[in-house]
Symmetry: C2
Subunit: 163 residues, 2 copies
């Protein structure tokens, strides 16, 4: 049995953030994209934890920053970050999470804890292959695949659900 994935155990999270920002800088540099201060700040906020953040949550923090931002500011930054594979949108939560495979081409899968809201992003070739086969069997040409699994993370499933 492998040990828990990073988001599920105590870790030096500022290292996660630092790594993410550093990766983002190189991804953008390589592609000649401008990681402006706002975009970088939004990315940093999205990475503030392994729990996805809503656009309006980001907006609220920017306001605390003293930045007089309106929704388009945030949505534009998020669009940019998505476009360069730096964040993912979780459709079932209307929220955004930092991509843990920035720069790599990948079809990913999200394990979303309904109790603590922690999200783990995985790449699961077996899943991707099965999806590709299922599509092919229907002569369907897949372009974007969303796989979101809600449930209980190891930490939360070991505790009794408070009810």
């Amino acid at each position: 049995m492998s040990s828990s994935a990073i988001p599920y155990r105590p870790h030096n999270h500022s290292a996660c953030v630092h790594q993410a920002l550093s990766d983002a800088r190189s991804v953008c540099q390589r592609q000649n994209a401008r990681l402006t201060p706002i975009r970088e700040r939004v990315l940093e906020l999205i990475w503030q934890s392994h729990k996805p953040l809503g656009a309006y949550d980001v907006l609220a923090v920017l306001a605390e920053d003293g930045h007089n931002a309106a929704p388009p500011t945030v949505y534009r930054a998020l669009d940019f970050l998505q476009q360069y594979g730096l964040v993912h949108r979780i459709a079932s939560l209307n929220a955004f999470t930092g991509c843990t495979h920035a720069g790599e081409h990948h079809t990913c899968l999200f394990l979303i804890c309904r109790a603590c809201r922690t999200v783990l992003e995985l790449t699961a070739p077996a899943v991707s292959d099965a999806v590709a086969k299922a599509s092919q069997a229907e002569a369907f040409t897949p372009e974007e695949t969303i796989i979101e699994i809600a449930g209980l993370c190891p930490n939360c499933s070991s505790e009794p659900t408070h009810e």
Copy 2:
């Protein structure tokens, strides 16, 4: 090679609707749930085609019906229908589609055409199994799985994308 799935080819769609309503009646009867006129009408509207319908689209048709409905009316009916497995919500579209496996326990997968918006619902055991294994490998307890694949259906991929 099997022939195209129903939603992808011309077919007697009123038979789809009739079947869906009939299935719904028996599902509800079996579970002692009340398929009231509003609920049945909403289900019928959702089934008006194999393209998902937004809650406010449903609302608009109810208004045309002369029914003076407000959003909660529609959302309640949709909640009911989801609860009894008669419709699914497509998270990536904020829209609803009739379940083609009403009454059966199933984890399904949606093939969503970005051109004609037709949705095909599939059960793909290979995908479900792969998802279950991936979850298990992380000691995650899955409860709800969403798999939505956007792309081009056979009809639309054979035509040139107008651009």
